[in-house]
């Protein structure tokens, strides 16, 4: 009768556990029925299974819901850090691009100013007609009380005019993402002051169309010299944005691997 697998505890156990496919189970059932020894083995296995099931499960000594650690201050702080860092980096890149494009079209007279390596690319934008207007201005910058001040101020006004118009959505995303923690968002807040300052002294901010803004602006004394400042600053911003992106990626990876 044992032409197949021997009718041992393993097979009888598998039969008892319902682990055999139906046809095999039927065959094993028949074989057990034909063997007194196998019947006893089955009965013993059933008794063991019954004991295992019947013995009351020991009750837990406490409620383990309380052992779940409350999220630590750190965990809470870092829970959204990848999202925040990503949002901040994206916002920075958007602002940076908008500003570069903005400065490229507007302040192309920078070509006249000796220095920044990105000048050629700016010149490529073909704002040739703006260049002559810029020519007189570099010299005049010396007359200003503090050049540094002017350097800091002017690009901002010109740029933010463009920026506020073009990326109406971007500043919203910027503040929503919690970026204020980073130093970069300074330009947007700074802009209003300068804009109003300028509004009192000149006609510049009032004229909306891009091209018109460019040429009158060149005539105001402080405008031209500061152009050099913006190319210095944006690489830093892009560096920060890159670092934030890397941080986000690393945080994300660490969290996943945990």
């Amino acid at each position: 009768m044992s032409t197949e697998a021997p009718l041992d505890d393993e097979l009888i156990g598998a039969y008892l556990d319902g682990e055999l496919p139906p046809t095999e189970a039927a065959r094993v059932r028949a074989r057990i029925a034909a063997s007194a020894e196998a019947q006893r083995a089955l009965a013993e296995l059933q008794a063991v299974a019954r004991l295992l099931r019947m013995a009351p499960a020991p009750a837990p000594p406490r409620d383990y819901r309380r052992v779940v650690p409350a999220p630590s201050r750190w965990e809470r702080a870092f829970r959204w850090s990848p999202a925040l860092a990503t949002a901040a980096a994206v916002a920075l890149i958007v602002v940076g691009l908008v500003n570069i494009v903005g400065s490229g079209t507007r302040i192309s007279p920078a070509a006249a100013v000796p220095g920044p390596p990105h000048v050629p690319s700016v010149a490529l934008r073909g704002e040739a007609e703006a260049a002559p207007a810029a020519a007189p201005s570099p010299g005049r910058a010396d007359a200003g009380t503090s050049v540094a001040q002017a350097v800091a101020d002017t690009p901002v006004t010109v740029e933010t005019q463009a920026a506020t118009e073009r990326m109406a959505a971007a500043p919203a995303g910027l503040s929503a993402a919690g970026v204020p923690a980073t130093p970069e968002p300074a330009p947007p807040p700074a802009a209003p002051d300068i804009a109003t300052e300028r509004a009192t002294s000149s006609v510049v901010p009032a004229t909306p169309p891009d091209l018109k803004v460019a040429s009158p602006a060149m005539e105001t004394p402080t405008v031209a010299a500061p152009v050099a400042a913006s190319p210095d600053r944006w690489p830093v911003l892009f560096g920060v944005a890159g670092a934030l992106l890397v941080t986000a990626a690393v945080t994300w990876l660490i969290r996943r691997s945990r």
């Binding site: 004991l51 013995a55 009351p56 499960a57 020991p58 819901r65």
Partner: protein, 204 residues
């Protein structure tokens, strides 16, 4: 991929589906969802661990560590069978406890300390609680791997495949451990027939 755990395939038992939905929410940071999972499974996790270890204090520690570990690694639960995933964690934590105890007892050359069944009188088995102790004594005669296999199959209602997954062994190992473990249990029970209620007694 993010919501894989929340995907409920047709034919999934309701219990598993609930587990997976709760797990998906827990992964998104919902503490209450995780606590609900703990509430659903702590009984069976503790029961498994305490029988595997034969020691309530060790089992308490192992259960606690298992739930903490599960909480920390809930991101790693990629759907499927939550209880099996959880039991696997608990199993590993229990083995850690077992190893720690072995290290502590290394000098005395003791294997698992089995309560001496002969020292227990028949009155110990008079009620069902006594049955628990008898079972514990019987389980203590098994090597840990057989004990784990028998318990996972009999008290956790896992299929052979699932037991193999939890223990990281193949199907053949599950079958043979099960057979050997049950044989030992049977031998123990027939050696202590007089202690058993009639419905569990092995009739020769």
């Amino acid at each position: 991929m993010r919501d894989q755990a929340a995907v409920v395939l047709p034919g999934t038992p309701v219990v598993t589906a609930c587990d997976n939905l709760l797990a998906a929410r827990a992964r998104d940071g919902d503490r209450h969802a995780f606590e609900a999972l703990v509430a659903r499974h702590q009984q069976s996790v503790f029961a498994y661990v305490v029988r595997l270890l034969g020691d309530r204090d060790l089992a308490d520690d192992a259960t606690q560590e298992a739930f903490i570990a599960a909480f920390r690694s809930i991101d790693g639960f990629r759907g499927g069978h939550f209880r099996r995933w959880l039991i696997r964690i608990a199993h590993n934590k229990a083995l850690d406890q077992l190893r720690a105890r072995r290290r502590r007892n290394a000098s005395s050359l003791e294997r698992d300390e089995a309560p001496e069944p002969a020292a227990l009188g028949p009155e110990a088995w008079a009620d069902r609680a006594g049955l628990t102790e008898l079972l514990q004594a019987a389980l203590a005669t098994l090597p840990a791997d057989q004990r784990a296999t028998v318990l996972l199959r009999a008290t956790q209602d896992l299929t052979y495949d699932e037991v193999a997954t939890v223990l990281r062994v193949d199907l053949g190992a599950v079958k043979s451990r099960l057979a050997r473990g049950r044989r030992r249990l049977r031998d123990f029970l027939s050696a202590h027939r007089e202690l058993l209620p009639s419905d569990v007694r092995l009739d020769a």
